[in-house]
Amino acid sequence: MRSAGRSWVLLAGFIVFYIIYLLFGGLVFSTIERPEEERLRHELASLKEDFLNRSCSSAAALDLLLLRVLQAHRSGVSVLQNTSQPSNWDLTSSMFYANTLVTTVGYGHSTPLSDLGKAFSIVYALLGVPFTMLVLTACVQKLLFPLVVGPVGLLHRYGLEPRAACALHLLLLLLLLVLCFFVAPAALFSWLEGTWSFLDGIYFCFISLCTIGLGDYVPALQPGQKNKPLYQVSVMVYLFLGLMVMFLLLRAVHKMADVHGLTRLLQLPRCEEASPEDDHHPIREPGDKSPTQPLQPASQTTYNTINKG
């Protein structure tokens, strides 16, 4: 189908544009934040020097030092090693930051230090969050048919009634999800990060994929991490895929609630099957010889929800 192919191309273009948006964000953050981080680091180093030069320091001075150290640590600058420490705002780290901003995970391991960075974060987030949600929803809609509606129909054809088919399919999907997106990555993370246990890995995966993002565990931050850029990029990909699968799961759960009559019971919005024909509408009917008319200005802006479910 030509229009099906077209919609795939459009989706691919969307995704490419999304990646470009992330890169752009990473670049901007990097250029804004890096000098500020350097300044803070120098300040901290001089403070430390000062402290070490004194032979007998008072408690007040110690407290002051510790306060400053804590403030610096909260901004992601550590005073522990005075050897060259990889910056928190090089390109891939900034992209990682932009990714956490835009998927609303928000770890907080590195936050903008300058005023300009904060202002830019606001604007970037206000545009980026709906954009990401749109991209994720579009991907999920594409996946919904082969992964949810298709298998359920298949099970239905094998003689199971709709409720049982839905429930069985949901169970299988859940199992697959847990295995691929929690257990396997947790094992991988606990192996790559030396200090994480397996439970820590699962905790991290869960907190990230629910977009809670507490930030007590963040990958690729160990000192002396090998292949840090590659690692960070793969974590970003994992986040994106995981979020997509979570949305899919949510849709499947909603569908099941529909089938079992729960949504009607609780008077909640029903799961609208955004049918695949939605995208397969040909833009112009074949044989439509009417002269092309410009889009009416009054036909726009119905404020539909992004995720209809």
Binding site: L52, T104, I212, L214, D278, I283, A298, I306
Partner: protein
């Protein structure tokens, strides 16, 4: 109009009025006639009951979570507090010669203590706990709204496992609540807008302008109520700058939640020496109010973000349509051009055939005059040969276009004749005089 159907076939019936609510159910904004009004009030009354029921359920859930977190985390926290105090005392005793390794160790310990939420300031003894009831409530709230500040996080294994299970159940629950609140907000706002629109309609302004004005009012009013006002309050109470307050508001309401700025945090951990009783009382009220603001503000932000998302969608559909139109134009143009081309070829071939006919007839005349027999006429005439060559070419080169553009289906195979494309049947009719078709039968 074809356009609204393209935008969203499901809402084609409701496409005349903007829907401002969070859920998928439309909110009718025109003053409805009587039975519609009745239906709407009945539906909204039921929804109100459901919403309040869910709200109480969520509050109960949060309180349960808060008590469990407190029970799990507070013992751990007090032991950490003890340990860091001992460290500090030891350091102060032997600090006459401070070398860097000792300092580093201390810093490491300090940092890990801060992770657990303890600050090693001078009067850390009368510091309020980070895991008292109201703070635990706040933490539970940040978990189920998926904001996740991270300034407080569970450190015991039991705390973490409970956190996972808690979030698994709490996030969908909060999602339902948010949907309900958003609906209510949309209804309230819709009613207000309907009144305003009634006034504006008297001035005979176009539909688009009304919609644009209502969007603007929605954004402005909501910003004032949920962004500007809280930002001013935070600036005053927390002592942040204006930008930092707005930054905090936006980061919180989009559920990003970095945790570098958290409302109500300063009062808890670094309470100054003048920490009086009234401070604590205000703090106890402050945090739940902040949480309530987060709830309503989240619904507003969800509506705004979905509006922005719809604009993106509209833009992408518009682009899709314009690209589609452009492609259709291009297809028409290419079809026209190739039709012209074929016409020219046909004309040329017919001309050539004419000329050849004339040449053969002249030749025949000459040969008959010269007495050569006309055995040549028995073989396949060159006309036939040229025609078959033409037919073969055209069928290979332009199968798609002719099939899709000809209003007469099957014209390609009609007797294999030269009426290949139905675009100019008149021309073929014009040239009906030559008996090409007959020759091929």
């Amino acid at each position: 109009m074809a356009a609204p159907d393209l935008l969203d076939p499901k809402s084609a019936a409701n496409n005349l009025k903007p829907r401002l609510s969070f859920s998928a159910n439309p909110v009718v904004l025109t003053p409805p006639d009587d039975d519609d009004d009745e239906c709407e009030t009945r539906i909204s009354v039921m929804r109100w009951k459901t919403v309040s029921a869910i709200f109480f359920l969520v509050v109960l859930y949060l309180i349960i979570g808060a008590t469990v977190f407190k029970a799990l985390e507070q013992p751990h926290e007090s032991s950490q507090k003890q340990a860091i105090l001992e460290e500090k005392v030891k350091f102060l005793l032997l600090h006459s010669c401070v070398n860097s390794t000792e300092l580093e160790n201390l810093v490491k310990r300090v940092v890990s203590a801060v992770r657990a939420g303890v600050s090693p300031s001078a009067n850390s003894l009368n510091q309020s706990s980070l895991w008292d009831l109201s703070s635990s409530f706040f933490f539970a709230g940040t978990v189920i709204t998926t904001i996740g500040f991270g300034n407080i996080s569970p450190h015991t294994e039991g705390g973490r496992i409970f956190c996972i299970i808690y979030a698994l159940l709490g996030i969908p629950l909060f999602g339902f609540l948010l949907a309900g609140v958003g609906d209510q907000l949309g209804t309230i706002f819709g009613k207000g807008i309907a009144k305003v629109e009634k006034m504006i309609v008297k001035w005979q302004v176009s539909q688009t302008k009304i919609r644009v004005i209502s969007t603007l009012i929605f954004i402005l009013f909501g910003c004032l109520l949920f962004v500007a006002l809280p930002a001013v309050i935070f600036k005053h109470i927390e002592g942040w700058s204006a930008l930092e307050s707005i930054y905090f508001v936006v980061i919180t309401l989009t559920t990003i939640g970095f945790g570098d700025f958290v409302a109500g945090e300063k009062g808890g951990s670094e309470s100054s020496s003048g920490a009086s009783a009234e401070n604590n009382i205000y703090l106890d009220y402050y945090k739940p109010v902040v949480w309530f603001w987060i709830l309503v503000g989240l619904a507003y932000f969800a509506a705004v973000l979905s509006m922005i998302g719809d604009w993106f969608r509209v833009i992408s559909k518009k682009t899709k349509e314009e690209v589609g139109e452009f492609r259709a134009h291009a297809a028409e143009w290419t079809a026209n051009v190739s039709a012209e081309f074929k016409e020219t070829r046909r004309r040329l071939s017919v001309d050539i055939y004419d000329k050849f006919q004339r040449a053969t007839s002249i030749k025949r005349k000459l040969s008959s005059e010269l007495g050569i027999n006309a055995t040549l006429s028995q073989e396949m005439t060159p006309g036939k040969r040229t025609l078959s060559v033409n037919l073969g070419d055209e069928r290979e080169c332009y199968p798609n276009l002719t099939l899709s553009l000809s209003p007469v289906p099957g014209a390609l195979t009609r007797n294999g004749s030269l009426y290949l494309n139905g675009l100019s049947p008149d021309y073929a009719a014009e040239r009906r005089d030559f008996p090409i078709g007959d020759n091929l039968k």
